[in-house]
Subunit: 126 residues, 2 copies
Amino acid sequence: MDNGTSSYSPINFAEKLKLISDQWQPRVVAEMNDYQFKLVRIEGDFLWHDHPETDETFIVIAGTLRLDFRDGFVEVGPGEMFVVPKGVQHKPSAATEVQMMLIEPRGTVNTGREGGERTAQNDLWI
Amino acid sequence: MDNGTSSYSPINFAEKLKLISDQWQPRVVAEMNDYQFKLVRIEGDFLWHDHPETDETFIVIAGTLRLDFRDGFVEVGPGEMFVVPKGVQHKPSAATEVQMMLIEPRGTVNTGREGGERTAQNDLWI
């Protein structure tokens, strides 16, 4: 069936990112089962933390994300992804702004079990 | 710690896609908990099917994916995504080649409960 106009809308990353004014504040754009897709803009250093209950996926849209680990690091550019295994301490950073997607179970907090003042409000949609 | 060279490697979508010679044959590139990230090249029409047990995520890298539903359709371009809810019949198609990522639980078969000759071998990694 082709009714000539699209009856459903895709989620456009660039359009959603334009709606995000603050860095380090992930915004949910979609859910798959009990997982959430979050877009976020970051710049500078985050804190060391881990997520003891879940792996965490980073897909970079713009910029170069650096993830430091206790035994090394990885740089993730546009069109690239990396999955941080659960329980592995990591420190995200971005020398210049990075726009990226996080994928993780609903309820996952940005600072993991570390907590503290950099903990963002969770489950905010755009 | 900066040892000057990256000690871990990101997953680069373009490089992985170059390794996929056949259309309609999803290849796993990463796992997050019990979910898999699969890259696939498609062109032409697929069959109507659904996945009764899980939502299914499509992220388009190149080309324009069309997903027909019984009550409409959506077109998904580069930098866009769409999540098909579990149990919803859909028919993917691509007028010209589409390169995309699928995200779904490990064990999810491309033809869902429809099965048949277009069922691809599952859990093949690149």
